[in-house]
């Protein structure tokens, strides 16, 4: 029983980690705490519905469609909403992402109707027994792909020249500008990556559940994940995502399904009070 719960918790947690990673990329690059990340997940799921069910694209092409679509939308959001608001107080920026999620939700419900849709992909969906555990292949695939994406992104960030430029831009906009980095392009790229990672999470979450705008609440679990892990830390986001997934599954199995949220947010509150910089984050030092 416990092993089963831990397995599904870790598998879901990997997806949350992926979404949270996208969140941190955006946060690091542009200092925007993106409350629309949950809707980005929903967008990914609906992009998958569009590509697979409505357009009937073959699976590899559909994946390309989702990634390109998500990247374009990410750049669009950055150009239309985030850049005009740079340097504004924190509430304006938080609120613009909340307003964006309201607009996206309404738009999706107008375009696709408020009813949920099922998403079927050629990904393996059976299950097998392993060491007494029922392993769902879909969960396993989701976790594997999430880890692959995280690994690929980590390598990109660490070893490619564009990754280096992105890190420089995130570190200090002014210094990077002086050194000739096109900070604006880097920020746009960060939004594209953040949106794409969320969309991939949405592809899997949509398949594990039903595709509807309700997926937003699941996508928003990336927020506590990020804070628990440590705001500015990429490994922290992944660890936070895993923790949130495991806690969610444990709480809904052993206490009640409704208690899952409160357990996650209680942990968030404890972390905020005891260790505000998160498990793996670095303590910010206030200099006078």
């Amino acid at each position: 029983m416990l092993g089963q719960v831990l397995f599904s918790g870790l598998a879901l947690g990997s997806i949350y980690g992926l979404v949270a990673l996208g969140f941190v990329v955006i946060l690091k690059a542009t200092d925007v705490f993106n409350f629309a990340q949950g809707m980005f997940v929903v967008c990914g799921a609906y992009l998958a519905v569009t590509a697979l069910s409505l357009l009937g694209l073959p699976f590899p092409l559909a994946i390309l469609f989702i990634i390109l679509g998500a990247a374009l939308m990410g750049m669009g959001v950055h150009a239309a909403l985030i850049r005009p608001l740079s340097g504004r107080p924190i509430l304006s920026i938080i609120m613009v992402t909340i307003a964006l999620s309201i607009v996206m939700r309404a738009g999706i419900e107008i375009l696709y109707g408020p009813a949920g849709r099922t998403l079927s992909t050629p990904l393996p969906s059976g299950g097998f027994l392993f060491a007494g555990l029922r392993i769902s292949q879909l969960h396993l695939t989701a976790a594997a792909v999430s880890w692959l994406c995280m690994l690929a992104f980590g390598l990109f960030f660490r070893f490619t020249s564009v990754g280096l430029l992105m890190r420089a831009a995130a570190d200090s906009h002014e210094a990077a500008t002086i050194a000739g980095v096109k900070v604006d392009a880097m920020n746009r790229l960060a939004w594209a990556i953040g949106f794409t990672l969320a969309a991939i999470g949405g592809l899997f979450l949509g398949q594990l559940q039903i595709v509807s705008t309700e997926l937003e609440t699941i996508g928003l679990l990336a927020l506590p994940a990020v804070v628990i892990g440590g705001m500015q830390s990429i490994p922290g986001a992944i660890l936070g995502g895993l923790l949130v997934g495991v806690i969610e599954q444990l709480a809904s199995t052993y206490i009640s399904p409704k208690s899952a949220d409160v357990m996650i947010y209680a942990l968030l509150l404890v972390i905020l009070l005891v260790r505000p910089w998160g498990l793996l984050g670095q303590k910010a030092i206030n200099r006078v």
């Binding site: 705490f33 909403l81 005009p84 608001l85 504004r88 924190i90 509430l91 304006s92 938080i94 609120m95 613009v96 909340i98 307003a99 964006l100 309201i102 607009v103 939700r105 309404a106 738009g107 419900e109 107008i110 408020p114 927020l223 506590p224 804070v227 705001m231 409704k258 208690s259 949220d261 409160v262 996650i264 947010y265 209680a266 968030l268 509150l269 905020l272 009070l273 505000p276």
Partner: protein
């Protein structure tokens, strides 16, 4: 935003001549406010019947709900706009109010004035608790702590509802204030109008007091305020306690007005709508919160009215107004908030003076 902090220069010599006109305007406004519920109930003016369209499809209950929302928007704007503390946990205080009203009123059966006092106290206590993380964390982290508080309170409400009552929700009886039963929308209207006026006057007066000035100073520059001897920690907690007491009272009234409350009534979107209201109206302006709440509560039914007026229409507009009305309203509000944030961060109240200045320039030039 900093223009709030500077007191308006008193035009002392001109005052005596300005008095009568001001009196007349006040009198007219009061008369209009007193006549409004009659107009909305009888739906006629000087014996001439008015169609639904002329009245913008508005009813008295929307106006009453708007007045209740004004209380919430006023308190959130005081907290966020004036004290600079961002809170996504406003629904939690509404829920606290509704819950304590259920305990005091529905379960113990105590009279309504006691219910109001009790829920205000419970709200203040809850506000102090929710404000405690502000001693340790700031900015974004604090926003998240209010969100965490929201989920904790929502869970308690859920448990309370299902332990004591059932799926249908928590029932609330007809409140009665010293023999004055709030049984009709008309009675509610006058009670709520008086309450909103009282809260508005109280909050705007408190902004002119020593502590109110300290609050604004804290918002504009925390370290400068501290160096001038303001204890920002205590001040923050006080602001939180005061505003959440108001929000809890608003929650009590909301629950009583709808005569039922469930755990779904006070979700995170409920909290977000108040943030949207104060951004639409104008951050840091108490007048703005009234405008924002009015727009937020009345515009949906006005749009619905137009949809009915066009007979459903055809094509894209028709389907937008007919089938997807709720989504359409959300879309409009979302875009309005985005547009205001980008082009007029001061909200609708900041547009008025701008337009006037533009007109003045145009007239001169």
């Amino acid at each position: 935003m900093s223009d709030l902090a500077t007191p308006k220069p008193a035009a002392a010599p001109a005052l005596p001549r300005a008095w009568p006109r001001r009196f007349i305007l006040w009198g007219l406004a009061l008369a209009a406010l007193a006549y409004l519920p009659v107009l909305l109930t009888e739906r006629m003016i000087f014996g001439i019947y008015l169609s639904n369209m002329t009245l913008l499809n508005l009813g008295l209950s929307q106006v009453n709900l708007m007045l209740i929302a004004m209380l919430g928007a006023l308190s959130l704007n005081y907290l966020t706009g004036c004290a600079g503390l961002i809170s996504i946990g406003h629904a939690a205080f509404y829920a606290t109010g509704a819950m304590s009203a259920a305990v005091i009123g529905t379960q113990l059966g105590l009279p309504f004035p006691l219910v109001l006092i009790g829920s205000a106290l419970a709200g203040a206590v809850m506000g102090v608790v929710a404000g405690l993380p502000s001693l340790r964390v700031q900015g974004l982290y604090f926003v998240l702590s209010t969100m965490a508080v929201h989920y904790l309170v929502a869970y308690v409400f859920l448990e309370y509802q299902f332990r004591v009552f059932d799926v249908v929700g928590v029932p609330f009886g007809t409140p009665s204030l010293f023999g004055f039963e709030l049984s009709t929308p008309m009675r509610w209207y006058f009670f709520l109008l008086a309450l909103v006026a009282l809260v508005y006057a109280g909050l705007s007066n408190s902004l002119r007091s020593r502590e109110g000035r300290a609050l604004l100073a804290m918002r504009d520059h925390e370290r400068a305020a501290t160096s001038l001897g303001v204890d920002v920690r205590i001040l923050r907690i006080k602001a939180f306690g005061l505003t959440s007491a108001i929000a809890a009272v608003a929650g009590t009234l909301y629950a009583h007005y709808l005569s039922n409350a469930t755990s779904e009534s006070f979700g995170i979107t409920f909290a977000i709508q108040f943030i949207a209201m104060i951004i639409i109206g104008g951050m840091g302006s108490l007048k703005g919160s009234l405008i924002g709440a009015a727009l937020w509560l009345l515009l949906p039914s006005i749009i619905t009215g137009f949809a009915a007026g066009f007979g459903g229409g055809s094509g894209i507009v028709g389907s937008m107004l007919g089938e997807h009305r709720a989504q359409f309203v959300q879309l409009i509000f979302g875009l309005l908030v985005v547009a205001l944030l980008i082009y007029a961060p001061g909200g609708l109240v900041s547009i008025g003076p701008k337009v006037r200045a533009l007109l003045g320039r145009w007239r001169k030039g």
